[in-house]
Each structure stands twice: as structure tokens, then as C-alpha cells.
Amino acid sequence: MQNISKILLILISILFLYGTSYASDDVNQETPKILKPGFSFEGPFGVFDRSELRRGYQVYSEVCSSCHSIDQLSFRNLIQKGGPEFSEEETKRIASQYTISDRFDDYGELIERKRLLSDRFPSPFPNKKAAMSANNGSYPPDLSLIVKARVGGHNYIYSLLSGYEETIPEGLEVSGILSYNPWYPGSAGIAMMQPLYDDLIEYSDGTPATINQMAYDVSVFLSWVSEPELEVRKKMGFVVIGFLIIFVILMYLSTRRLWKEVH
């Protein structure tokens, strides 16, 4: 054991060094510190809150989905464990609201059909060009991985969505079609107009729809969309690491006993 603690110390300090070096590289000096309202799925035992996920889904489908796709998500994902866990009937009903034309009839004509559980969520635009032309030349990014694809993750999404400001600080130039958001990297303006306003939607569970509430809920939903395996992963990790801790104790005792006669 004389130097295993030394090795561990080295490992931890290396990881710490590199963990912080990336972060310091990417956080823009001018942007304020990202807000951390605290989320239920943080930490090693954190799980999603079903009602937050469902409200977040409502925000996505009533607000975000008019411009942003979630290409990687299938309707069936809404049923699976660790997600919003909608009932099968409810999800089938949601899916059937959308159509898709992906096969031909016997005369070679495209058939339009209702979407099924196995289908993906539809995109609001037929292609990237159409999306850009409808949004002043900016492409609204797909949100399937948005939480993993941004420094700060879900806290960044929350800060951005709740952080639009009317007044532009002096000395900053933000062109007419852009909006000012202090959390957007570079701060020169973001193409997305402020998407959330108080009481923009009416939550089906009666929760007051404030900007912060909607930003929070949709951040939870998008976190799940980015990492649908999160709950399964953490649960499995608990079992695996628990097993390994018992195993490592046994291995340590075996090693010590075996080597006693040698030293």
C-alpha cells in the first residue's frame, strides 16, 4: 500500500488539472457566471422528476418545437423508464397527431400515414435551407443533444432561456434582428428571440407558467432528451461500484495475507 495512495493522488490531480483546463478555455470572460438553480437529476443518486419532465415536454411541444427539432427522439422513448413515462395510449395519441410519408403504394405514389410509437419526432422544417430561410438565415439547432453539446449543460440552457434582457449594456453592438442575452457566448447577440414569456402556455397540472418555471422544466426535459439513459446508468453504476468496493476489499486482504510471508 505504500504508494497506492501516491498513485491515486497523482490520478486525481491530473484529472483535476485537465478537468479545469477545458472549462477555463471555453467560458467567455465577459459572460456572467452560469446560474445553478439546482436540479433533481444532479449528483450520483439524482433522478428526473416526472412532473418536471412532463411539463418540460409541454413547453417543448407548444413553444420550442415550432422551430427546433429533436431528431434523435422516437415517440416510444416517452414511455420508457427513466423518462416522462407517459402511458402507451397517451403516447400513441401524441404520435398520431403527426404524419409521415415514407412508403409507396402499388402505383408508386407516396402514402401519407399517421406516425407510430416507433417513428421519430417530426422536424418543423423540411430541410436546413428551409429552416434558415424562415429564421433570418440562422439555423435553429436540433435539440436532441443540446445539453451535452454546450459548456455548462443544463445550467447553461436554463440561464440562456431565463436570461434575456431588454436593455443592452452600453458599448455592446447588437444588430437589429438579433437579441441580447448575456449568457450567449460572445454576447454579440443571439438569433433566437426571447422564446418564453409569463403565462405563454397553460400547464396541464396547473403550475403557474412563469418564465423561470418554463425555462427550468424545459431544461429538465432537454437533459433527458440528451441523456435518456441517465437513470439506468446511475442505478447500474451504484451496483457496479458497490460490487467493486466489496471486491477490492477482498482483493486487498488477499494481497496482504499472501505477501505477509514474503516480506
Partner: protein
């Protein structure tokens, strides 16, 4: 080596087999009974750990290849297909991506161990050189693997590195086209990188056998650096080191599992979750953490070609260590000055890694230059100088004999 152990086949089948394919004899002599110095510390467990990580990478990699589509139009989505639709696909992919980080972490400790205890010195030069080849192939494999998810960092890291190859005189242009399969990073690049990323690990696997073979001719070095003198200095590899190494492996596995299950994306860059876009350059292009020191060396000098040569030179110089450090005393335990410079070197490498992630301006650029200078000076100036000038401390006669060797000081 001392051959006071002998494999005796116990039954008629093993006797029959032994005269036809002596695989059990081989296993017995090289794994079970192999005489290993009894004073190895935990820094010597990383060879075992690395073998397991190579196997983990190959198994997870083979499974990933069953679901991955090496086509620039499909690659990014096929990774998400693995993450979302394949049963436990997220586990396999996170194990593979974090596994490469763990692999490099272990190999760096393994290499620094060799550097500290003089494991590259006579008679282990070939062993060390094989290790350097393995390390170089690991870098190539990891770099190609990083391109496969076809995210923004994949694409732009490939663009940056392949452009660097183009700065080489004479062969630069044709080599660039050969790597790219065209004039820019595109589908042909992805295809060949996938093919090579699948191939090279098996070459590494073969080299690992040569590495172990080259280890088993002179036997292990040990913390004193004094050669084995007899049976009193050694124990059988099994059970003594199989158990001890396995214990260390499980400790390392705990760290690995922490990353897989609780922080799977901590060591990656968020930009790689954005699909590659040739029209949009990320703000900062950075490689994976384990290649950052080389990236810092590359950017430390203003001339592109000189930077490239330095970057490759920083690996090439490792091959010459046995002839740069000619001091007979192996272990830094008995070399106070070497020990000091060695620890500065370790800090220097860590600093280079940190600087690799920063924008090379102002103080960062200056620090990159100083630490790049020290990196090379350590090998090219300090090592040969210390070999001549340093007076080693008194050393024990043998591993089990702590008495001071009077003759050793006369060297």
C-alpha cells in the same frame, strides 16, 4: 534467468500435448512460475492494468463496429443509434471512449515509472523501444478513433493534424492526399480512418506480446535497479503478482467506473456532440486531454514546419533514451540529481498538457516555450550530462541484501 523451476506434465494427456504443442509448459514458465523480483511496488502493476485495458478496448470496439456506420452522412446518427437504441449501447460506447482516457492515463504512469527507475537501460533497450512503438501506435489509433463520431471536434482536429502533415517537405502533399483520400476531410477520410482504427489495435496486441517477450528475457527491473542475484530475490508471478496486480486493477477499475457511470462526458469536449460542419470552425480546436502536451509543443513555435518537427521529435527522442542516459545505476532512488530533474520533468509534462488547452498568447505562449525547451533539454542535455557528472548514492548489494555495495561507488 534462473531455471530452478521446471514444468512436469502430470497426466498422460498433458505429456502427450507437451511433445506436440508445449503451450502448458509456456504458460507455466511465463505466467505461473515466472520469477519476479519480490520488491516491486504498485507502480509495477500498470503493465497488467494496460493489458486488461487493451482487451477492454478491443472487445467494446468490436461491438461498437457492429452498430457503427463509417459514412460521413450516417456516422453521427449511428453513434446516437448506439447510445439510444442498442441494448446497453451507451455503456459500451462510454466504456470505449473513457477507456481510451484510462488507457493513456495508465500508459503515462507506466512510462514515467520506466523513466524513474531506469527500466530502459541495458539490458532492456529493446523492451523500451517496443513500448515506444506501442505508445506511438496508441496515439495514432486514438486520434483516428476521435474522428469516428464525426462531431465538430472530430472533423476539425482531423483537419488541423492532417494539414500539419502537409507542411513536411517533399512527401507532405502526397502524404496529405493519401491520408485524406481527397482534398479535404470527407467521407474517404472517415472510411480509411475507420479501417485503420480497427486494424492498429491488433498490431498493438501483437507488439504487446513482443513487449512481454522482451521483458521475460532479462526479467523485471525493480525499485532498487539492482539485478536479480538468485532465488532469494524473487517470487513466482502466480499467485503473488497475479493477486497484487489484480487488486491494483480493481482500484483502477473503480476510477474507470466512476467516469462511465457518473461523469461519462467529463473528459470529452461538448463540441463533439455537434455534427461535423465543414462551413463552421469551432472557437478553439483542441485534441483529447492525453494529446494536449504535444499540441502545446506544436504551437510553442511560430514556424509551422518546425512545430511539426518538434511535435514528432518529442516522441522520437524517447526511442534514444537508452543511449542518452548512460549512467549504469538504474534507479533514481540512488541518483539525487536525476530524481530532482525527473520530478521537474513530470511537472513540465503536466504544465504542457495544461497549456495545450489554452490559447497560445501572452504568458501561455511564453510558458509553452519554456516548458517545451525543458522537455527536450531533459533528454538531450540533462540526461547525458548527469550520466557523466552525477555521483550516485550508496546502493544495496542485492534486492534481499541491504548491505551497501562498496564497489558500486567506484564506477
Amino acid at each position: 534467468m534462473n531455471n530452478d523451476y521446471e514444468y512436469v506434465p502430470k497426466n498422460s494427456f498433458t505429456r502427450w500435448l507437451d511433445t506436440r504443442l508445449p503451450i502448458l509448459r509456456f504458460t507455466n514458465e511465463h505466467i505461473l512460475q515466472f520469477p519476479t523480483p519480490k520488491n516491486l511496488n504498485y507502480f509495477w502493476t500498470f503493465g497488467f492494468i494496460l493489458t486488461f485495458f487493451l482487451i477492454t478496448q478491443i472487445i467494446t470496439g468490436v461491438i461498437l463496429a457492429m452498430h457503427y456506420a463509417p459514412n460521413s452522412l450516417l456516422a453521427f446518427d449511428s453513434i446516437e443509434h448506439i447510445m439510444r437504441d442498442v441494448n446497453y449501447g451507451w455503456l459500451i460506447r462510454y466504456a470505449h471512449s473513457n477507456g481510451s482516457s484510462m488507457f493513456f492515463l495508465a500508459v503515462y504512469i507506466h512510462m514515467f515509472r520506466g523513466l524513474y527507475y531506469g527500466s530502459y537501460k541495458e539490458p532492456r533497450e529493446v523492451l523500451w523501444i517496443l513500448g515506444c512503438i506501442i505508445y506511438f501506435l496508441m496515439i495514432v489509433t486514438a486520434f483516428m478513433g476521435y474522428v469516428l463520431p464525426w462531431g465538430q471536434m472530430s472533423y476539425w482536429a482531423a483537419t488541423v493534424i492532417i494539414n500539419l502533415v502537409g507542411t513536411l517537405p517533399i512527401i507532405g502533399d502526397s502524404l496529405t492526399q493519401l491520408l485524406l483520400g481527397g482534398f479535404a476531410v470527407d467521407n474517404p477520410t472517415l472510411n480509411r480512418f475507420f479501417s485503420l482504427h480497427y486494424l492498429i489495435p491488433f498490431i498493438i496486441f501483437g507488439l504487446v506480446f513482443l513487449h512481454i517477450w522482451a521483458l521475460h528475457v532479462p526479467g523485471n527491473n525493480n525499485p532498487t535497479g539492482v539485478s536479480i542475484q538468485g532465488k532469494q530475490d524473487t517470487v513466482a508471478f502466480h499467485p503473488y503478482y497475479t493477486v497484487k496486480d489484480f487488486f491494483a486493477y480493481i482500484v483502477f477499475l473503480l476510477l474507470f467506473c466512476y467516469f462511465i457511470f457518473y461523469n461519462p462526458n467529463a473528459l470529452g469536449h461538448p463540441d463533439n456532440y455537434i455534427e461535423a460542419d465543414p462551413m463552421l470552425t469551432p472557437a478553439h480546436i483542441v485534441p483529447e486531454w492525453y494529446l494536449l502536451p504535444f499540441y502545446a509543443i506544436l504551437r510553442a513555435v511560430p514556424d509551422k514546419l518546425f512545430g511539426v518537427l518538434l511535435m514528432f521529435g518529442s516522441i522520437v527522442v524517447l526511442f534514444f533514451l537508452p543511449w542518452l542516459d548512460t549512467m549504469k545505476v538504474r534507479s533514481a532512488r540512488y541518483r539525487p540529481f536525476y530524481k530532482m530533474f525527473f520530478f521537474i520533468f513530470v511537472l513540465d509534462c503536466l504544465l504542457l498538457g495544461y497549456l495545450g488547452a489554452q490559447v497560445p498568447e501572452g504568458i501561455y505562449l511564453l510558458l509553452s516555450r519554456v516548458s517545451t525547451f525543458y522537455y527536450f533539454a531533459f533528454f538531450i542535455l540533462i540526461m547525458p550530462a548527469l550520466s557523466r557528472l552525477e555521483k550516485p548514492n550508496p546502493m544495496p548489494i542485492g534486492i534481499s541484501n541491504p548491505a551497501i555495495d562498496q564497489n558500486a561507488r567506484l564506477d
